[in-house]
Symmetry: C2
Subunit: 329 residues, 2 copies
Amino acid sequence: MRVELGLNAVIVAVTEEVPRILTVPRSGPAEALEDALPFGPLEPDTDRTLDLGLRRWVREQTGLELGYVEQLYTFGDRYREPRETQGGPRGVTVAYLALVREVSVRRDARWRDWYEFFPWEDWRSGRPEVIDRAIAPALDAWVKSSPEPHLRQARRQRADIVFGLGGVGWDGERVLERYELLYEAYLVPEAWRDRAETGGAAEKRRPAPRERPELLPSRPMAFDHRRILATALGRLRGKIKYRPVVFELLPPTFTLLQLQRVVEALAGVRLHKQNFRRLVETGGLVEGTGRQDSQTGGRPAELFVFRREVLRERPAPGVGLPGVRRAVS
Amino acid sequence: MRVELGLNAVIVAVTEEVPRILTVPRSGPAEALEDALPFGPLEPDTDRTLDLGLRRWVREQTGLELGYVEQLYTFGDRYREPRETQGGPRGVTVAYLALVREVSVRRDARWRDWYEFFPWEDWRSGRPEVIDRAIAPALDAWVKSSPEPHLRQARRQRADIVFGLGGVGWDGERVLERYELLYEAYLVPEAWRDRAETGGAAEKRRPAPRERPELLPSRPMAFDHRRILATALGRLRGKIKYRPVVFELLPPTFTLLQLQRVVEALAGVRLHKQNFRRLVETGGLVEGTGRQDSQTGGRPAELFVFRREVLRERPAPGVGLPGVRRAVS
DNA sequence: TCTGATATGCTCAGAATGAGCATAGGGGGA
DNA sequence: TCCCCCTATGCTCATTCTGAGCATATCAGA
């Protein structure tokens, strides 16, 4: 079996307080169109580095010139592409995260709200109702469906930790763990699709439930792309805390509320306005321009720019989120 | 040109307060033996996942059974392996970080103090003298050798940031940036070796200095393995702050000072003992066993165990290092 | 028994954090 | 015109966390 190396891009932009990712249509099972992440091969003869290869085909396919790009993870599980079951090559993919401001794209690519893929991740208007209405009961059933008591206990604990149930707090960064749990519990359509497509190859390790549970209302993706997307979201949520990457998503000048809204969109939580402002200003991350924006609907807000010098002054500045502790209660 | 996918392992253990990595000998240029990281191919037909493939050949090659394993980064720059220049395949490698307790290994593998590869990273006995004696002057020369003034300015700034010169603080996590800077400035032998081996392919982009500067006293590695190692060290230094991974390196029971010494070995700095202890204990990371260790050379110390439940109680506990701020001065 | 270790408990000042009150200064509508 | 609604911005305050150090406990060995 050959190995085929591909490159995947999770391209993120935030507009109107909505975090969006760039998707391309891909014909899935039964001719249905599924969203996929932009995908391209590495040209080993011409692409000097992996990320230059990525930039090349993103430019070719969508007309988008990527700025900030960061390697995410390399996915190489067997059967991540169904053609493998038909003797096709083993597909290994290096996934990248890119942050852009630009929003116009060519061809059939389109921007989608990433919370359509993960409705349980958006806590900006409070705890998402899908958790208590659908996820918690479905996971309860998943826990109970386990034959052995100590296995049930392990499932219970895992469900509690990743979804913050039973008194455990919500950890915004555990996006991937949550998606993977839902996948294992057969609560997302991809689980059933992959089971059918791989001809039961994975069935031994991960038996499907006898009764088909009700699927969660969320948008699926082709291949394992929703897993890749979950990886990206989790990574980005972590990263904004200790590196000033948000500014890649903002125009050159912005108000502090705009900045806050973008951070909130990514983190999926609301922040205390005055404290956020204090953190950002005393942290030296931004600098006032003296100019004002009067489109605020209230008192005009000062326009700020990102202070690139901050990178040289302090080791690891981020925008700061509440409740970021490293240890201690 | 074909693409060939390999797997690399940075296998870390800490014994006697020395962080060690597992290396294998590899014949380098002029028959000299260079250290290399353990390396193996992915068997696309049998290895279900990338990390299972890694575990397989590490077991086969060294007899070591890996526990904690984490994907680090995928390296795919052109000419990272010299055989590419002779029409060989484009070598892409997925690097993994593994933490182990076990120290006995088969074959010709051997453990090496990782600070032999990065002497400037060990600040446990204060600022390493190599920085002021060798690195700072060499970087000064590198800055001055730049023809354009604003390029000089950029070089100066970069050198200051990554090595904490000119009043900028030292950031323990920037291990890779430091190594890459030294490589670019032709202060490590790999820079010269690669230049010779690739037949000047990279020379255009990165001209060598006219005068050959004195190399730093540090141990080189084959291929780009020192770059991979630097990635691992930086990642691990970051990770111990927010995930309890240190315990993978410790025996089941340990004293608080042992724990502290291991953290210090990885972080490369000394910590305030009482504060470290407060952080770890009030953080609920460990639990006393009531038993004591009287090998301390002083008052006997209580033996502790890692409290795995902490993972369920709090989102992201780490062992805590001083000076970890997310923003603000 | 004294000395030299390390372990462990405790204090205290300064900094950071979370929450909220108060005032400023726009625009739009009565 | 003036009032009201809205967002911006400044400031306070209690609580918690952090960094640093002092003091005492308990062992081994001289």
